[in-house]
Symmetry: C2
């Protein structure tokens, strides 16, 4: 029984990076992982036969495992591994803001899924983990993988298809940095989705497709100017910008300060800009923050490389 006692004491701690979803024109299909921020989940066996959220990471996050992406993802992993009904205890450390547009719900789901998979001695492969997280994310933020996929795999990821999942990891230029500015406002993911148009003009759809294509070509060739020109979202950004006071001014300030391009991270309220150096990132982040403050909103900034590792064990 040594093994059982030993396993009962195991604590698995996993870090999953934050992410920018909807990278520019890539609504629901293009996401990138952020090296500078993320969530952590610690998982251990629990004598109960339930998922126990011992710490949800923030007083506003539910400790009901059916309303918590970490709990939902843990439960999905157990089910897919044929271990439903086992008790797992989760402690979440939120490094990412709630409802910020930095992929916080996805990172918690990914960290929990990877942690529970390790607790079970890794029965599930990455695609099965992705599907478990997708089911969890779907319950709180709609069925899309543009935060989950980069948080799980790292890098910049194109979601070619969801059913079945077909993920395309893209080349990441060495000198690419992301500047983020998060104004002090809330926008629920569901509200950010409700304003999206149901139909788009065919010409606009193909323009958007051309921008996605040009971003991917630019990532491959390292042509950062082209990457910036192609960061031109004409479907989601025009619909969401009116919900985000200060965003237009912050975007203009980012471009003035030398950003390659800028848009809304996920459904917001965080704004992001792509830049070609860390110094440019600091300048651009500060310019965005100043614009938000002028609009009466306090603002936090971050400059990050693209994370290349994805979710990983810390113990």
């Amino acid at each position: 029984m040594t093994l059982t006692r030993k396993r009962a004491a195991i604590r698995i701690r996993v870090f999953a990076p934050g992410s920018v979803g909807n990278v520019g024109p890539g609504l629901d299909i293009l996401g990138l992982a952020l090296a500078a921020c993320g969530d952590r989940v610690e998982a251990s066996w629990d004598p109960s036969k339930e998922i126990v959220i011992a710490d949800p990471g923030h007083p506003s996050i539910s400790t009901d495992p059916r309303r918590n992406t970490a709990g939902l993802a843990a439960s999905e992993v157990l089910r897919r591994a044929g271990q439903a009904g086992r008790g797992v205890r989760l402690r979440v450390e939120k490094g990412l803001p709630l409802s910020g547009g930095q992929g916080g719900s996805a990172a918690s789901a990914v960290a929990a899924a990877v942690a529970v998979n390790h607790l079970l001695d890794v029965p599930l492969d990455r695609m099965a983990l992705l599907e478990a997280c997708l089911a969890a994310e779907e319950a709180v933020a709609g069925r899309h993988a543009d935060n989950i996929a980069p948080s799980l795999l790292g890098g910049i990821v194109l979601i070619r298809s969801l059913d079945p999942p077909d993920l395309v990891p893209l080349p990441v230029p060495r000198n690419l940095y992301v500047a983020l500015a998060r104004p002090e406002q809330q926008l629920r993911t569901m509200d950010g989705r409700a304003v999206l148009p149901g139909l788009v003009a065919r010409d606009l759809a193909m323009y958007q497709a051309a921008q996605v294509g040009a971003m991917i070509a630019a990532l491959g060739s390292g042509n950062l100017r082209l990457l910036g020109r192609a960061l031109d979202d004409r479907i989601a950004e025009p619909a969401r910008a009116p919900l985000l006071p200060g965003f237009e001014e912050a975007k203009a300030a980012a471009l003035d300060a030398g950003a390659l391009g800028a848009s809304i991270s996920g459904s917001g309220p965080t704004a992001f800009a792509l830049v070609g150096s860390e110094a440019a990132g600091r300048r651009v982040a500060e310019a965005m923050a100043t614009a938000y403050r002028r609009a009466g909103l306090s603002c936090q900034t971050l400059v990050s490389k693209v994370d290349r590792k994805g979710a990983r064990l810390e113990s």
Copy 2:
């Protein structure tokens, strides 16, 4: 006056390759040049002050320079070079079928534009030539550059934007071949455009964008299987296929015979398939031709590499 007499005798002969427009999901934005076929235009000064179409290349093509893409492109080049009113004589050799979906009108325009530009000692750069050809193509087939751009530049080209033109040349995998099957039927480009939907569902638009992105990622990484999976057009092909008897059967036959993917070339009637070797190309082309013949249509086939040079002087 030696120079004048010498120049009066100059004949410039230019070859411009045929092309596949609308490559799969890339409606209006993705085209590839075909090494195995093209049009030729010979240009010389004419003592008149007009564009003279001495040979339109086919009895069905107008000799009125205002209704002929070679004539229109020649006229645009003269105008943009500040030489409007000079007389130019054009002889067109059609290597490409009329209304076939192999970029015949674009190739004639490109060959004429490049030839007249050489007659004038190359006053226009490639972007100005592109705009001249675009104006010519617009008059007969709508404002799109997915045939003109590859015919002019060679290779596989993404049209990121038209106004102003921003063309992105894409990597071409070494072992990529194109199999073409042209059934004996006519479909005017304008009719092929009239059936396109004016509006598309947002989710469909983003799926299409993801396929364009995945094709470009696959060209960069040389992942031909991904290239084939992403050759999935859900906007133009479903609208045009009903106008093209035998197409669905030919596509199914191509996939059965080992094609990576298949779709309609331009607005048809030519069908094309992407393949990973010349031998596969022959097999796939024959399978498509057999399917068309079973549907009661005679059919011509072609297997081609991607042309990498674009329009070029032959004298």
